[in-house]
Amino acid sequence: MTVTESLPGAAAAPEPDDDRPAWRRPPVFPILVIWAGLTVLLGLFAYFVPARLMGEPASDRMLEVQTTFTAFSLASAPVAGLVWAVTLYSLVGWRHKGTEMPTESGHPLRGHGRTQLIWVLLSAVLCLFLLVWGLVLLNPPQTAADAAAPPLVVDVTGQQWTWTFAYPGSEPGTSQGEAAGEPVQTDTLYLPVGRRVVFHVTSKDVVHSFWVGPMAVKVDANPGETTVVDVTPNKVGVFPIRCAELCGLYHAQMQTTVHVVGPAEFDSWLTTLRASAPGPVGPSPEATP
């Protein structure tokens, strides 16, 4: 690393026999090489790893979340790569040998206007990209199908340390096939695949958080308030529901499952549930939509 051997102040001057352009000479060129290498590595990591760790998505929303995660990771790869390229290079290229204090100082550089300007502009552009992406996804447009089909409404009630789900009675004319009958409660959630569900979430005691991981459904259950979250499950299967807000002694055990089934199976499940219900169960007063 010839540059580091030269005197401070003279360090910027090219070697006499070096007619390469500035970006081809150390330290810029080796840093560019390390940067490119790191960016590719980090990019591969960003593309393949995080989304897989999040598991198979069970709703379009979760797919969007995973895509966002991957996109942000890809956008971050060159940033992290640049920082680490400069630090890695400095470990070799600019390191003072030995443990005694260097007798000579480094290049007395007090800022570099153009670099600072570019850095701020680039980080602002990246920030803008994240913002626009996030704001667009924040309010996903309702599809025509969503608007046409009335959603299934499920009242979710958290209490220490269990979840209760209430299906309201069928309303004439809007029923999308669920068996007619009284409102019922259950502690296991069943949902029909492909149909929009709206959860009305509340709590009987402290703050809980209703979290269906693979569907990217999460909203706090607050006592005295009803919060709303919706999702369209797109995958048949059994998925975990966990509490995501520390709620006391058995917070860790406050979990159950959601069974996403075909519409026919859902109807028959609901019919069975209504038949086996001990009697009409009115919707809890605080959970009325």
Binding site: S76, G111, Q116, V201, S209, L246, Y250
Partner: protein, 671 residues
Amino acid sequence: MTTVTTVVGAAAPTPGPLAGGLIRRLNVLTGVVLGLLLAVAAYWLCEEFLPEPDTGNHKVDATTTITLVTWAIGFLIGVGAFIGPFRWLTGRDLSHEDEMFLAGKDQGVSRYFRFTTDHKVVGIQYLVAAMALFAVGGTMAMIIRTNLAAPGSQLLGPTQYNTTVGLHGIIMIIATIIMVSGPFGNFILPIMIGARDMAFPRLNALSFWILFAAIPVLLSAFFLGGIPTGWSAYAPLSDQAPPGMDAFLVTIVLFAISSAVAGANITTTAVSMRARGMTWVRVPIFVFGTVTSVALALIAFPMFMVAMILLAMDRTMGATFYVASHGGNGWLYSNLFWLMGHPEVYVILLPAFAVLLELAPVFARKPLFSINAAIFGISGIVGLSLFVWAHHMYMAGWAPELNGPFMVTTEIISVPTGLLILVLLGTIWRGRIWMRLPVMAVYAVLWNFIIGGITGIYLSDIPVDEATHGSMFVTAHFHYTLMGGALTGAIGGLAYWFPKMTGRMLDERYGKIGFWLAQVGFNVTFLGMFMVGLAGQPRRVADYDSMFAAGNLVSTAGAYVIGIGMLVFLYAVLHSWRSGVPASSNPWGAKTLEWQVPTPVPLENFAVLPVVTSDFYGYGEEDQDDGPPDGTGPELVLVGSSAATAAGLTVGGGRAEPTAATSMPTGGEPS
């Protein structure tokens, strides 16, 4: 500019009694005794006379709260914290001898166990307190990770587990808040700006001893039923919690007072006591970072204190600020909490980052790359940090219309943060990196903090937060910022200022082994935690699904490596403190003022006060010519009350030679 001033016309204060006064008999032991006595008396009075309410257990909570507050007041009286106000009440004042005694003159080690006002004593006290808190909080972390080593809650019952998680959280939060502003902000900062002590030396001691009184209060939570809430103490869970919660809230109120006192003191000191010529652009960046941090804490911490006072009223008097069934609302609590909670992250980060910015030029042997960018970065973070709090509440259901605006402010904060990274990179750019232990913290932080920062950007995005909020991903993220970033930076600061504070060099061999072991263990631990977080493991759980077993085992193994590394580092610190190699007054060849005074630093630091004519980062600039004529070269002109002033003598030869920085006279006791 003489330093001895006589105010003509002002009556001299009436001297108090000389040696033998009460002031000389008080120490930490008398504090503990008086505190315990008054606490027992308060407990008895409460039991005897507090009315028994019809509902709830308000009496238990009121008794606990009053007893603990009485302990703190009794301790502070017993340690001598109010000796000044007591004297004023009796129409007297402290004599010069009293002040010198309070400053710890000629007292040896015993001054560390008294209400001592010397800022260097307070700095050491804070350092020891922070290390003790880290030891306790770190042990709790080991217990937590042991419990989570495999599914099935290996070690603890749910009450113990939740309490351990909560106490680990608050102990580490307190420790990280004080770890830089306490030891270095008190010991180093006044010397760095050329002052003889803090602006309010007695308030300085008061801030430490309030903190000291708060620690047993916090630990008592273990024996009062624990805290089931974590350190965030969300209401209404904290409303229904056992009396351990009262201990928690008394601790927070005490700590808020302590940090307000310390913050006002440090801010005043830096604003009004800088050496002549030390304009704001010449102020060392560490001072800037610490002052903005404690000033931010002055705004932020009262929010938490208010939240805790409302909680205390809920618990002890049946107020219903947070009880939904009586018209209260938990969102009031979470807003107040996060109004403190997010600025608090930067209260922790800024001084640690400022430490790195301070030591990077020393070990790269070149000037700080653009102090303006650094100041813009720090100021931008401070300003924005007050407007981002509700990103912790995206999923709370509170005011969903505000999610978008809070996402905007949160993501914009990455721009000033990035500027600080640029300043670090620019400072090591083409430097002569002198690879000693302090600068290794810069490298570790550049690795850790990039990860912590990028994962923070994910969390700032609302859709991603739907998958990650409340999960182990969040836990891993904030450990990367607070531990990988802030604590690592503070360790760099400890290695850097250790020679000045203790007079001995920190053992680099064991220091490095411990430091890098902890760093490797840290990355293993929290990468494992990112994995299980993404896969959907909630945070703060005592038990988990078997699908998370692998990642948790990795985390636990990594945590033990951190533990071993920290123990090795602790050994290096303790061993070096006792019997390390004696340090010269400026072993790093640094230019800031604290390295120009002798080691050990004499009482009142400077025999003659320095005058500053440039900033302190002129590495390499003096080599180019014999000091630029426009005065940008480092130039230390010493002017003071000594004969040197009368003779018009400037020490250091006016234009600084490369050795000028080390040629200042050794300071003696001021007359």
